[in-house]
Chain length 364, copies 4
């Protein structure tokens, strides 16, 4: 029962990679939002494969049909449902394939969980394709947030060990950051980005893959949102971000590097900036005690190297009960981080709208 | 509304640092467990302050009174409630103090969230003292888990930049690891541990603080527990761990370091070990697709340097509207990681029991 | 955010009466159930209109397309999604209509809740048509329950003031009750049923409508399921049943009539029936302290007279700000109880499977 | 896991009748409410026993200690916890008693659910005494609601078959209704009330018990609160009300009687009353499509005759495996409805505040 998330917005993601389709029911949206379809299309295209040399050439049209929740171009407030039909689903000998589980995939755990009845075609319900509906949700939420002055941005902080310049989290260059979404390979330092792309293509040539780190910023959130303890902002975001396949680490503000600093260096000092409370540093990543500080909220997500690689790999054979080898056919993303990035950014938008809707009501 | 967590176990944590007391309601426990009170006492003492040179000399007796849910020494299945009275709560001029918010604390965010009505004494509901009930819950859950062959262990992987030997996550030395809980400073490499302690005391001498990393292992979980997406094991653990104060990062298996490996190195290869499926490596940290692999579950949590330090710090003065300075009186933990460790391990136990209870029923 | 229900099964219902379609995502189903499509078709047809003189002649094909969660005819355990396209949706001047809200409908409350942005066509998200997905869910759950010896039955206990013979809730005639689902007008006493039908047709002739009471029984539930207080069986069922449009009352066992008895008459006395615990009476409706007794679970739901009637009615005109009159065109069910019956019975099945899945796990 | 309820307010009720105490954690309260302790005391005394000839002479002081969530007399917004110590708990041979389960009680179902480990003393966690914390919660919520012009009232519509005058739900006499809370036996028609009391005392004389119906009204709720389907107002209230012991039926507006009317009579007709939308009748009980209409919200709850009676009853003997008889010692309420009334009214207040807090935020 992992396909539902949210406090005030609830989304239910459904589908399998090679079944009839995938989609989402998004409940709890405010009514009356006039949807910008062109923005939605562009945003969701950022996740779609087949557009760049470093992604799989599989074509996924990802054309979403809206089944409910929209009337005359506006959200009605009732559950909004989208359906994305699966089209590019070539048949294959999946029954033979499922006997040799792919290393790094959920083939074995899925079989253990569902007693062997899971849909094995193209990873079924475990497919990364299931992130398309979340991207749609994030695109829609980001439109509503923009009307309240809240924005998100994300870049590839690291790919194959090569680093981009980190976000400035105290005095961010918002104009620059917001344009990252328009770049096919979203980095601040384009020269580093070129080296990342080279490393990705080189990994592809050797039928291997590399990982990366995505850094995300949300700005415009007022101070005082969230709750202490298990409904703190870190807890809320993390349960969503770790729902995205391939994410194996998450840190806020100074994160793991921050543990090597002293308290006197790490504490974010408040000051009055023309009567407004700001902080000199942002090691907390915009969160103190689970609650927003009013500074940009910043987190980084670790994306493991793609599990599907062209190289021959060792595995087991469930029909023979012997160890065996496996070659995964077809082409796959040699680095999934660039396509995971709009999903993580979308998740940040869904989180932010849920959070806004979760604040105390005007009656109280 | 952040004080409630859980799918099948639900706990509600309540209290303030200097109010009447703190405690917890734990609902959903299996009935009939005969409580080992001596084990409970020892486990919860690991978190209590005042026992070591590197922790605050404040005495917290942390004596928990059981208010409900136990009859003749066994759990009844009804909500189990504990109350820990606050005793060592010296009065202080909190009203003056709240005018100068402490850097690195939730003083400002708490005021924004609760419109200034939060209890300011000793950080109130934001106090680290609130982790005592969670430690109690974890101690109790770990007793029930031990009866099913499930165990947890944790050590200080890093303090002040000094590293302990990491857990062996493929062929762990379980006998050694389980005894870590008996050590006042739980490390595998005691020589490294000594250097860590020295660094902590040195930071204390300079009225400053340092951070650390806690590595935790859970073994004995069968394969096939959990769910894909937002109820995957990473999502479940993270929402709990990030509810512990001072935790700013979390990673599973290879985590952030793993993004620098190749897919061919990173993929965990399954093999038949005398007919039983095992994996050659454990870069996934025991989780694939949100579901347990049957290998040890491993995660690391980043603990920031303690916010309360003796050094003079800059801050603002809310009564004057001017920038100001602040000296925090009293003694505080120069490194909170050693005392956060049993809390993180307790959270791992609570998570594990909740997960076990969450599996499919015998009827289906 | 009312479209999601469940503890262990979660369903998300979506759609509007005259939009693209309606449907449901059902998460948490056990994997491996081989679906009986013919049973599904027959069960869901019981709710469909246009088959009898006492229901609206509108044709709704209610053909459900399965979008996810089924592979090779079996449930996979991943979310199961169905989509029912809307076909018989004649255009009408809905904008004019929405200015004169229909008495007894959610036109005014929907407008208040959604600030006027709700889909007004055919009652939109408030339409009784939204019960079709729940009927599908119930049909599916009832198949799984039958494999565990758990069955449901329902009849029209009262229509237009005419009463059917009540269920025998102590020694029920299960063979007879289970066949009620095959009757187009499910009553025990067919002569009373004929008088009910006559009364319904008479109401239709006078362009008016009548109400009814549905009595439902679940048998085969073992003793000991459920929880005290707010997750007791009455609480669980009621939150589901009151989600069905037109239901305004619900009672268990002796219900409202039972308040006129004495305690000495009302208490259900247990006795040993060949070593098995049974009860002499079943005034509790199979529930004591929120937990199943092992006796048949029995409840009755009050269905108000259909709001849509052909007679001219008074209302307001939102465009003129004056009181006005209204004639609702088209034909509608003169009594909705017969078509609500399979929905209520389906809800009983969904509730029962959720409850079974919610019991303690085999690990504990 | 039935002790937790709520969407925005969450309360966790804990305790057993003869254990250390009972209490509640109430999370999600708005901060800054200045508590009126005298009002709280008076409100909760309405539920306490021992004050009238028709209630048990047991003394329960029900003095609540506030353990958390209040600072300087105001709610802090952190979880508010109360503890009521058990004092009047005479020891008894409970082990012998549990062998002969009391008819109409949860003795057998509790044993089945908790495998025999439940606390049997004074019904343990199933005791009606557990309603004391809910009454406290309701008293507190009603103070906050009064500041927003929202009020509740309740009366005994029926006891032992004798009826009080029903509430006028269209043009209610609010001044009169609000004073019902001050009456020891809250009825509108005091002459009928006298006859009810006589019937209760007569039942007590014959060591038997009688039941009743409680009618509750909430006024001041604006139109447009709630949601369609499973989070509609009926679903929300019912899951709370059915958590109160002895409640076996619930109806809204016209309820069960309404099914005998015609649609043309039953539909509530809106009209403009000096520019404000009102309804001519209130058969919907203030709810259409799960959403508030702005008219008074009205519901009735059926309270079964008290299970504990002095008469000898048949039962089984679990130690002998034979049918047996039982005499319940001590005195018990011959009618529980008068003491259940403030609990139901309190539940209405908790529901109402939760609902208000659940409305759309000012940001959207």
């Amino acid at each position: 029962m992992g396909s539902i998330w949210g406090n005030r917005l609830k989304f239910s993601i459904f589908g399998e990679s090679h079944g009839a389709g995938i989609g989402m029911v998004l409940d709890g949206l405010p009514s009356g939002h006039l949807i910008d379809w062109e923005h939605l299309r562009k945003y969701t295209m950022r996740r779609a494969p087949g557009h760049t040399p470093w992604s799989t050439p599989r074509k996924e049209k990802d054309e979403a049909e809206v089944l409910s929740g929209v009337y005359k171009g506006r959200t009605t407030g009732a559950p909004l449902t989208i359906l994305i039909r699966n089209t590019d689903t070539r048949s294959a000998d999946y029954e033979a394939m499922r006997m040799r589980p792919r290393p790094g995939h959920a083939d074995l755990t899925g079989a253990a969980r569902y007693l062997g009845y899971q849909d094995p075609r193209g990873s079924g319900h475990f497919s990364g394709r299931l992130t398309a509906p979340m991207t749609f949700a994030g695109a829609l939420c980001s439109q509503i947030l923009a009307g309240r002055g809240i924005y998100t941005a994300a870049h590839l902080l690291e790919v194959a060990g090569i680093s981009d310049q980190p976000f400035n989290t105290v005095t961010p260059d918002l104009d620059q950051y917001i344009k990252l979404g328009e770049k096919p390979f979203p980095v601040i330092d384009d020269e580093a980005g070129q080296r990342m792309m080279d490393a990705v293509l080189k990994a592809a040539d050797s039928k291997d893959s590399v990982g990366g780190v995505i850094e995300t910023m949300i700005w415009g959130l007022p101070a005082g949102l969230g709750d202490p303890m298990f409904d703190g902002l870190e807890s809320r975001i993390s349960s969503l971000i770790f729902g995205i396949p391939a994410i194996k680490g998450l840190e806020f503000g100074s994160g793991f590097a921050g543990v090597r600093s002293k308290g006197s260096e790490h504490n974010d000092v408040p000051w009055f900036d023309h009567g407004k409370i700001r902080f000199r540093t942002n090691n907390s990543g915009g969160i103190q005690g689970g609650i927003s500080t009013g500074m940009p909220l910043v987190f980084r997500a670790a994306v493991k190297p793609t599990s599907s690689i062209g190289k021959q790999q060792n595995t087991i054979n469930l029909s023979t009960g012997q160890n065996d080898t496996l070659i995964i056919e077809g082409r796959h993303d040699p680095c999934i981080a660039p396509r995971a990035l709009p999903v993580v950014e979308a998740a940040a938008a869904v989180f932010s709208l849920d959070l806004l809707l979760d604040t105390a009501s005007p009656f109280i």
